[in-house]
Amino acid sequence: MKYMFIMRATAEAAEAYKEIPFEEIIRQMGAYNESLIKAGVMLAGEGLVDTSEDAGFVVDFSGEPQIVSDGPYGETHELFNGFWIVQVASKEEALEWARRCPLGPGSKLEVRRVTEFADMPDFAEFAHVDVARDDAAPRPGIG
């Protein structure tokens, strides 16, 4: 099974981080990522640029046409600022890895299971077993 670790930081976390040298933060995260890779469980992981530095935006689908704005990013003040996807054998194993993430006060790690085909029995009816779908062809550049 796959889990996504969603890193959420509040203003408190941002303040706490100012106390720690940037190199130290990078070193700790690097060591954590390294441990996930060495254990053979890391499938993906990225950090997201702080919204104050980079003009991210939000597309709202409430009406036609969609409204594009520069926020708010959610109901809470907890910014989604990075993620990992790990492949493990149990919920407990996901939790054990999540506990080890080098985060401090004001940070939260939301752990969610990634949907897989086994979770969607309804998908079986979309599987046209006798006809290979042409649109499943890999396209140049995205493989």
Binding site: I37, G40, Q87, E96, D135, P138
Partner: protein
């Protein structure tokens, strides 16, 4: 320490810790004691202590450090009890006491030694598989028994005997010498791939694929790739397993019936996993040492997963890759696969010649593979009666229920 927890949740927590840290704990102990079997015993005793103490005392902040420290203490106590504190053991005991159990920095090399010990040629294949899953993969004997559909007692027995064999053969806790390196690494890769293929096409039981077992093999393969990143065949094996596993979701219907490659919905193949397979093959090729048998098989699998359909698959390139593979790793199964590729590239006639040569040599006797391929070729040549009888023969030989049913269906459908 966190508060007291239920025994069951503590047990699950320990299992999770063990999957993550078990190999490194045993590796540290084995280096310190120079005794693989003892290291495994000590680690098990520490786990037993944790199972009995943690529900009361709560779970320590650093569970792996706690387990290691307890295991080391047990080692020293047992030597003291046995009054074996001669020069050798005194040195080991001192070394153990000097190392702070909580901030231990395990070394990758120790884990690599562990891998080579668990897959040592003095052990049977079954023992190698069980021991690798146990000490490298950090699985419980119950989990291993479940994966292979065998009794727990059988797994325990295999592991106990394996440890005794390693002791009897005086196997050192070391990586192989340079001139022995290639064959020994090949042995390790073989153990991992054996686990994977048993998960990819189960030889017995009801279900055709067991993704959990294949997943364990893939995880251990990735661990090994991290330990010996300069070995092209390790990346080749990881690549092959990623490509094969990327098709799992399409290989069975909701009711568990197998779906053959030609009939699979390619939209259900895991593109992210295919990407990881490609990256691993690029890493293998990038070392500039040429493709070994795993990298060649990965390249073949890549041709399949990159193709939009069976008809648009680069069969000519697959034939080339099989020709190379037959030369460096000849086997009847590879030859049979080459025949299938030839039939797709140039037609069933030539392919039937290859299959008939195999059959007359007595290759693959007792396996359903050869008659099922032969049946397919005869069907394409319009030799319906012969095809039907080949499929019936194949069905009678199939050991897996799902495969047998599919072959019977194929016989009836011609």
């Amino acid at each position: 320490m966190s508060g007291a927890e239920g025994a069951e949740s503590v047990k699950r927590r320990i299992e999770a810790v063990w999957r993550i840290d078990g190999a490194r704990i045993i590796a540290v102990l084995a280096r310190a004691t120079r005794d693989f079997g003892l290291a495994e015993d000590l680690a098990q005793e520490a786990v037993a202590d944790a199972l009995s103490q943690w529900p009361e005392s709560g779970i320590p902040h650093n569970p792996a450090g706690w387990l290691t420290a307890v295991a080391k203490r047990k080692a020293i106590d047992s030597w003291r009890r046995a009054e074996r504190l001669d020069e050798h053991y005194r040195a080991l005991a001192n070394g153990l006491e000097l190392e702070d159990g909580v901030t231990w920095e395990p070394v990758d090399d120790d884990v690599l030694r562990l891998v080579f010990t668990a897959c040592h040629p003095v052990l049977s294949r079954e023992a190698q598989v069980a021991l690798t899953l146990r000490v490298v993969g950090g699985l419980t004997t119950e989990e291993i028994a479940r994966l292979f559909l065998i009794p727990v007692a059988t797994v325990q027995q295999r592991i106990v005997r394996a440890k005794k064999t390693l002791t009897a053969a005086r196997v050192p806790f070391e990586v192989p010498e340079p001139n022995d390196w290639g064959p020994r690494l090949g042995g390790v890769l073989g153990v991992i791939y054996l686990m994977f293929t048993e998960g990819y096409a189960a030889t017995s039981g009801e279900s055709w694929i067991r993704p959990d077992l294949a997943g364990e093999a893939l995880r251990i393969g990735r661990v090994l790739a991290g330990l010996v990143p300069r070995e092209p065949e390790v990346h080749g094996l990881v690549s092959l397993m990623e490509f094969q596993a990327s098709r799992f979701a399409a290989r069975t219907l909701a009711d568990g019936k197998p779906v053959l490659l030609a009939d699979q919905d390619r939209g259900r193949w895991d593109r992210a996993q295919i990407g990881r397979g490609r990256e691993a093959l690029i890493r293998s090729d990038g070392l500039g040492k040429g493709r070994g048998s795993y990298a060649l098989q990965a390249a073949i699998a890549q041709c399949h997963v990159m193709a939009p359909s069976i008809a648009e698959t680069d069969w000519a390139h697959i034939v080339l890759l099989y020709e190379a593979l037959v030369r460096i790793a000849p086997s009847p199964v590879v030859e049979l696969n080459r025949a299938v590729a030839v039939s797709m590239a140039t037609g069933p006639d030539t392919a039937l010649g290859i299959v008939d040569r195999l059959a007359s040599g007595g290759a693959l006797r007792g396996s359903h593979l050869l008659p099922s391929v032969r049946g397919e070729l005869l069907a394409r040549l319009g030799r319906t009666e012969e095809a039907r009888s080949e499929f019936a023969t194949a069905a009678a030989l199939a050991k897996n229920d799902r495969t047998r049913a599919a072959l019977q269906e194929r016989a009836a459908s011609i």
